[in-house]
Symmetry: C2
Subunit: 148 residues, 2 copies
DNA sequence: TATTGTTATACTCTATAACTATA
DNA sequence: TATAGTTATAGAGTATAACAATA
């Protein structure tokens, strides 16, 4: 995968240089996820849904909010995943309007495999760093995410 | 934007913890780019095309390879951007089969604005780090990208 | 023959607007 | 009335296969 993107420009001093690197890294990372998804006929969004529901059960609207999508988009997304036996719709027992979505056993098994593949596919990238640098990078990223 | 994703799981020791952070950071970054694109009626891919062509002129196939897309996909992508006056098709002077794609003045102006917006929207994230940590993060990311 | 790009086709993803059912 | 979800609709993104033009 190429590394070019909107930030693939002569690195500037100041914040831009870091942001260029961040954007490029993100494109590389997303390309890996996308490829792994494609190998299983899953879009990036479907991949995310499986990841999100690995340890949670959410109603349609919550899932939409999580993904930043409209609830009407979720209908088709969940429809297709349900048809493939990866997700299940369950009527919410306390709110007759709501529909909970949970991962199926088959979906959970797939999610585990996908996660392992993601780790394996990105390991070469992180493997460019020493063990100590890997720790530093993780700490820096987590600091940013905490503030987010 | 939510931070959940296929790696949004109990952080594991070893490579997985870092990779979780990398994936989450990438989703956050992509969400920003996506939002900026949407504000200008541009998909993430269109945004990338503008970024790539800021300082280059590529033929259709090269652009497709850059983006990891099929060449047939490029036709529609470039069609729409050309219709909006952001890109221009130019017949390649030395190879009668090839079509070069270049950014238009309007497209270049938009690309500059988009880039500034990207930097501005991600600055709060990187701003969570001290100046010294920002330098360290940039160096670590660039080390990974160099190996890629 | 091989390569470049487009066209035809089919799905998925996505949002908006309108609708049904429940609260 | 307000909320949860679906449906209808439309457009963009994507790939595969077949094609025309050029090398």
């Amino acid at each position: 995968m190429p590394t070019s993107d909107p930030a693939d420009q002569p690195a500037v001093a100041g914040p831009a240089g870091l942001i260029d690197a961040l954007v490029q890294t993100s494109f590389v990372t997303m390309a890996s996820l996308n490829k792994i998804g494609a190998e299983h006929d899953l879009s990036l969004t479907q991949l995310r849904v499986l990841g999100i529901l690995r340890d949670r059960r959410l109603r349609m609207t919550e899932l939409a909010d999580y993904l930043g999508l409209d609830k009407s988009t979720m209908t088709g997304l969940v429809d297709r995943a349900e048809k493939r036996g990866l997700l299940e719709r369950v009527r919410n027992p306390t709110d007759g309007r709501a529909v909970d979505v949970r991962i199926s056993p088959a979906g959970a098994a797939l999610a585990e495999r996908l996660y392992a593949q993601v780790v394996a596919s990105l390991a070469p990238l992180t493997g460019a760093l020493s063990r100590a640098d890997q720790h530093r990078l993780r700490a820096l990223l987590e600091t940013m995410l905490d503030r987010h």
